[in-house]
């Protein structure tokens, strides 16, 4: 076929269609007109945001209220009735070693009882412990020979008020009192009291408990569907098994709610693939009960309500222990624990359905940066405990978790997406502080999100 022939042939076709016209349907212009006519300012998006926000707040508040109304506080049980004590319980204090059960308040702890604890520990079956205590005792004897004697305790009930002013210069001074610091340990698996103090940490490792949590969330962010940003609010309830200290008279359980706020951005990297990241701040709080107060090395404990003090420096000097922790069992306190952390997720999602209705599955990693842990005694009788990662090597400042879930969303007006996001979050590094303190934010959550899509 010659090019010239092609041209002529083409020209004939072009001419055949010159002026050809078919009237479009009326609906065509209507459709065009609807698109090009400037819309009056619409508040629909605003109402969607407001409605989703209110729905989230209402559902979060509902869960919170429901949870509180269906959760009875842990009863203040006398240790006599505690399930953790059995007939072999060895009570503390010189001349008080006997079988039976005892309830003590903080002010009941005396020097004698403290010494009794040590003696009792030395009677443990474990030979290595005996050896350790024997060594400690020798050290104690050697050191106390060069130190001022620990003042005798008054026989009154107010026996914890050391006569610190009369101590030698090596003893505690008023300066130390300013560093009042006490710790309320909880959430540890229940252990038998006669587990020795110095072995306690080994016990902790073997008895980690991973809590499961369920929750509701209001999330607003752009996990997918383009680049977007918004805030995120989520809440969850924890259903943890009962936990307790690894040693001591402790009975605790916790249950709680997590709230988080954040912003997310997402970007499609393929027709159906999306990458997203963001930044979230979470507060996980739960209640617990504890009847053990543990005083760390070189610190003092203060019971505000009765203004009594226990200073452990004196005990340390007395026993000559390099690492000494004084655990004080007491009446049961109701505690509120709060963990704060910042999460940075990196997720990849895939759209299974990508119409006006969208269904996407996603998975990814979250870097959880632990920020602060606060324990508050609900009656206000005890001073708050605030711990940060730098306070203990036990606390990991960085933890990672795996997040997987799905998003069911509906496109609104081209630029908005309203979504429901069920997801599950699993902590990966269980050796971290989150695990040892029942902080592991393993969460099943249901989120509501409102997203803006940049076209």
């Amino acid at each position: 076929m010659e090019p010239q022939d092609n041209k002529a042939w083409s020209k004939a076709w072009g001419e055949a269609f010159e002026g050809a016209s078919i009237a479009p349907s009326e609906a065509s212009w209507s459709a065009i007109e609807a698109e090009i006519t400037p819309q009056k300012p619409s508040y629909r998006a605003f109402w969607w945001v407001a409605a989703s926000f209110l729905a989230g707040v209402a559902s979060t508040a509902g869960v919170f209220l429901w949870w509180n109304s269906h959760t009875e506080p842990m009863p203040v049980v006398a240790l006599e009735q505690s399930r953790m004590l059995d007939d072999d319980a060895v009570l503390l204090g010189e001349n008080k070693i006997q079988k039976g059960k005892e309830k003590r308040k903080l002010q009941d702890v005396t020097e004698e009882t403290l010494i009794g604890e040590v003696e009792q520990a030395a009677r443990a079956d474990d030979t290595s412990t005996q050896a350790q205590w024997a060594e400690n005792k020798q050290t104690m004897i050697a050191q106390t020979a060069n130190q001022a004697p620990v003042p005798s305790m008054a026989s009154s009930t107010n026996t914890l008020a050391y006569q610190w002013k009369s101590l030698s210069p090596q003893g505690p001074t008023l300066q130390f009192m300013k560093e009042v610091r006490w710790q309320l340990f909880n959430d540890r698996p229940v252990q038998w009291y006669k587990d020795e103090v110095l072995l306690a940490e080994e016990e902790e490792e073997s008895s980690l408990v991973q809590p499961w949590r369920m929750g509701l969330a209001l999330a607003s962010g752009a996990m997918n569907g383009g680049i977007g940003s918004a805030s995120n609010l989520e809440a969850d309830m924890a259903f943890d098994p009962a936990g307790a200290m690894s040693y001591g008279f402790v009975e605790s359980e916790d249950k709680g709610i997590t709230t988080s706020y954040g912003a997310q951005v997402g970007k499609r990297v393929g027709k159906r693939w999306v990458l997203s990241s963001g930044l979230g701040y979470s507060v996980s709080s739960h209640k617990s009960s504890s009847n053990l107060i543990l005083v760390d090395q070189g610190s003092s404990v203060k019971l505000n309500a009765v203004n009594e003090f226990v200073d452990t420096d004196a005990q340390q000097a007395r026993f000559g222990l390099e690492s000494y922790q004084l655990e004080v069992s007491s009446e049961v306190y109701q505690l509120r624990n709060q963990y704060e952390f910042i999460s940075v997720p990196i997720q990849v999602g895939y759209y299974l359905v990508d119409t006006k209705w969208k269904v996407a599955v996603s998975t990814g990693l979250m870097a959880d940066i632990f920020y602060r842990y606060t324990t508050t005694e609900e009656s206000g009788a005890l001073q708050d405990l605030v711990l940060r990662p730098k306070d203990s090597p036990e606390w990991n400042w960085l933890n990672t978790s795996l997040s997987t879930g799905m998003e069911i969303s509906r496109e609104l007006g081209g630029n908005y997406l309203l979504s429901v996001q069920p997801s599950y979050r699993l902590v990966l590094n269980q050796e971290g502080a989150f695990a040892t303190n029942s902080l592991s934010p393993n969460v099943f959550q249901l989120g509501f999100s409102f997203q803006y899509i940049f076209q």
Binding site: M1, S10, K11, W13, F17, G19, E35
Partner: protein
Amino acid sequence: MSVDPKEKELLEGCKAGKPAAQKALYTRFAGEMLVVCMRYTKSKSEAEDILQEAFIRIFRSVEGFRGESSLFFWVKRIVVNTALNHYRKNKRHLYLVSDESEEYEQVSPQSLLADMHWKDLLLMIQELPWGCQQIFNLYAIEGYTHKEIAEMLEISEGTSKSQFSRARQLLQARIGKEKSRNYGTAG
């Protein structure tokens, strides 16, 4: 290029977003553009979808029209581009129709198409395989070169040529049959 005063008025109205001007522009070109759309599709409803999309683009981009070509060609270019986008979006692949060695009658194009109504020709174009249809329209009616078509459709120039050749073959055979049916002769 000087712009027709009426067209200028229409354009200014459209640029100002006046509904009456927009409607007038649509009325003026919609009929012819629907035929263009139908040449690139298989049905009128599909063609109307493309027409609507094209006119929305026209009204949204009318600000950018500088009068460097006639309004008709500017509108037509947007319509054709929209049709091609539609073709790409729906992932319609070029049918690589084999170039059968069937010879077509060497008759003059004018005589071949004489007495044929454009609506019949339109139906024949719509019956072509997708790839052939697009290339035939672009080359024979829109006047693009094979090189330009190759770039537009992201195919080789050779493919464009062979597909056009095949389209011509099919169309001539179809016309031959039509004439034979109507006049009892293949010539």
